[in-house]
């Protein structure tokens, strides 16, 4: 790639969100959210339970239709396209190629009655891989990258621990080389030492693959480690945005100050 081309690409955000709103009847899910996500950037969305983080993430990932707003994605072949105007076939294709979604509960994102290798291979087969040997090789390679031993490749996820399931889910999502990863509380429900390993792994993968990611969490330690930029939500509204360290070390909004000061120091 020539430098001019690279410069041209970097001048365009990967994802542009404009005024996304979603209401549940009279209640607000999320309101008037706008931001740009640049290639290789990791964005954290934090806030308390019920602040609209997950609603927003689902709207961005095409799993929920927003009532208003636009979600523009820089597609490989057509440039910036509003994902809400796409046909369902296109959006689902995007969902298994350039996008990935890591669920909070691994069992939501895995097929529990299919072996680990089959779980990782599913996305490959969904985009047309039809050579068993190659699929299996890639599956084993990816299990290795998420620190799951090769001899577990034919075990079902139901035989895995919570941390392993979550790592398997990550392998399954990243195997087709997505450019944008949505993560919904990726470390939720895991004990702290497993969390630390998972975060370490995620940080390595995100940096190594140059992924862009949107991470929804209520755990400030997660965003401190992973996120470049931070968005704080409260009651469906974005109350503060900025660089992660800036927001966490010098919170401006009253709610952010409360959030930061609520973290227990050991």
């Amino acid at each position: 790639m020539k430098d001019t081309e690279r410069a041209a690409i970097a001048q365009r955000p990967l994802l542009r969100v404009e005024g996304v709103s979603r209401r549940y009847g009279a209640r607000i899910g999320c309101a008037e959210v706008s931001f740009d996500l640049w290639p290789g950037e990791v964005m954290g969305i934090v806030g308390e339970s019920g602040s609209g983080k997950t609603t927003l993430l689902n709207c961005l990932a095409g799993q929920l239709a927003p009532d208003a707003g636009r979600v523009m994605f820089d597609t490989r072949d057509r440039g910036m396209v509003d994902t809400l105007d796409m046909s369902e076939a296109e959006r689902r294709m995007l969902g298994r190629t350039d996008w990935a979604f890591v669920h909070q509960h691994a069992q939501d994102g895995l097929r529990m009655n299919v072996s680990a290798g089959g779980n990782v291979g599913e996305r490959l087969m969904a985009v047309g891989a039809r050579h068993y040997g190659n699929i299996r090789e890639q599956a084993i390679d990816w299990l290795d990258r998420v620190e799951i031993a090769e001899d577990r490749v034919d075990d079902r996820p139901s035989a895995f621990s919570g941390g392993m399931r979550q790592r398997l889910q990550i392998a399954r999502n990243l195997v087709t080389g997505p450019r944008l990863v949505f993560m919904d509380e990726p470390t939720g429900g895991l004990d702290v030492s497993v969390q630390a390993r998972l975060l370490d792994l995620l940080r390595g993968l995100v940096r190594e693959m140059g992924l862009s990611a949107i991470i929804v969490t209520h755990d400030l330690a997660v965003v401190r480690l992973l996120a470049d930029r931070l968005m704080v939500m409260k009651s469906g509204h974005v109350v503060e945005t900025g660089l992660t360290d800036q927001v966490l070390d010098d919170p401006q909004h009253a709610y952010t100050q409360l959030l930061v000061s609520s973290v227990l120091q050991v």
Binding site: R111, G118, Y132, V153
Partner: protein, 286 residues
């Protein structure tokens, strides 16, 4: 039998089923919903096949029913009698003479010709069902041609058993578009699905009809390095000596005795009448 309308079903119902059949023929492999009726037999005994047979039957038809290839099992005999009683059509056990053949779990060994209709009894029409429990989702997957999941099933077979161990209801792709469950026929029969006869599939409980017009392009799914293989027991028929027919294994005593016989009883009978004798067979009485 004036107490019944011809072939049991009323004319409006037959028209409804024929419309579904025509739609199915127009879109090979596509599962057409239809308003399946209660039939005087339990689900799982061929209520879908019986309704399809009733809808296509005319008084001049010659009707044959097979169950796992055999003409003489309970299921085959009772369905044959049912149409004898309610439609008064001629019945036969000879594949060549039949114009409508209702089948459960087999395709006859003899090549079917143009003008014949093969009606399948289908228990579960959805090939993706055991991997994706949601009907809404499987319909969407058919609509958007997302069939990667079907290969996940084959992948699991190889990972667990060393090769594709699915031996019946082996998924096929029809005309490069719809993935279809060919009903629980052995995969030995899959290569015959592109036959010259019309093939109609009826699932009564699941209320689906689908169809294959004559000479449809039907491809069994596989992997590049694990190609599809139509398998059968590595043996010849012990009664007629046929080496190329699909075989049933029959246990003959409790001391390990067994024999292999053609599952297609009509095919086996014809060969024995023509003078062929297998390893355990006896000379046919002329």
């Amino acid at each position: 039998m004036s107490a019944y309308n011809f072939a049991y079903l009323d004319e409006q119902t037959k028209r409804m089923i024929r419309r579904a059949l025509l739609k199915g023929m127009a879109i090979p492999g596509y599962q057409v919903p239809f308003a399946s009726r209660e039939m005087p037999m339990p689900y799982g005994w061929g209520t879908g096949g019986v309704q399809v047979s009733a809808a296509v039957m005319v008084p001049e038809d010659c009707f044959k029913v097979i169950d796992q290839g055999a003409d003489d099992t309970t299921n085959a005999v009772s369905i044959r009698r049912f149409f004898q009683a309610t439609a008064g059509v001629a019945v036969t056990e000879k594949t060549a003479e039949a114009s409508v053949i209702q089948t459960r779990h087999r395709i006859p060994e003899r090549d079917l010709r143009q003008g014949q209709i093969l009606v399948y009894q289908v228990p579960i029409p959805e090939p993706l069902r055991f991997l994706e429990p949601s009907e809404v989702e499987t319909r969407k997957m058919h609509a958007l041609e997302e069939y990667g999941l079907m290969h996940v099933k084959l992948y699991e077979d190889i990972a667990r058993h060393g090769d594709i161990s699915t031996s019946y209801a082996y998924p096929v792709k029809v005309e490069g578009r719809y993935v279809m469950d060919p009903s629980p026929i052995p995969k030995f029969d899959n290569p015959k699905l592109g036959m010259a006869a019309i093939q109609l599939f009826g699932a009564g409980r699941e209320q689906r009809i689908y169809a294959l017009p004559p000479h449809t392009d039907v491809v069994s799914l596989d992997f590049e390095d694990y190609p599809f293989q139509a398998g059968k027991a590595d043996h010849d028929c012990d009664l007629c000596g046929a080496g190329s027919s699909y075989l049933d294994e029959v246990i003959t005593d409790d001391a390990g005795g067994r024999m292999f016989v053609c599952s297609d009883t009509d095919f086996c009978r014809e060969r024995r009448e023509a003078g062929h004798v297998g390893a355990l067979g006896v000379e046919a009485v002329a």
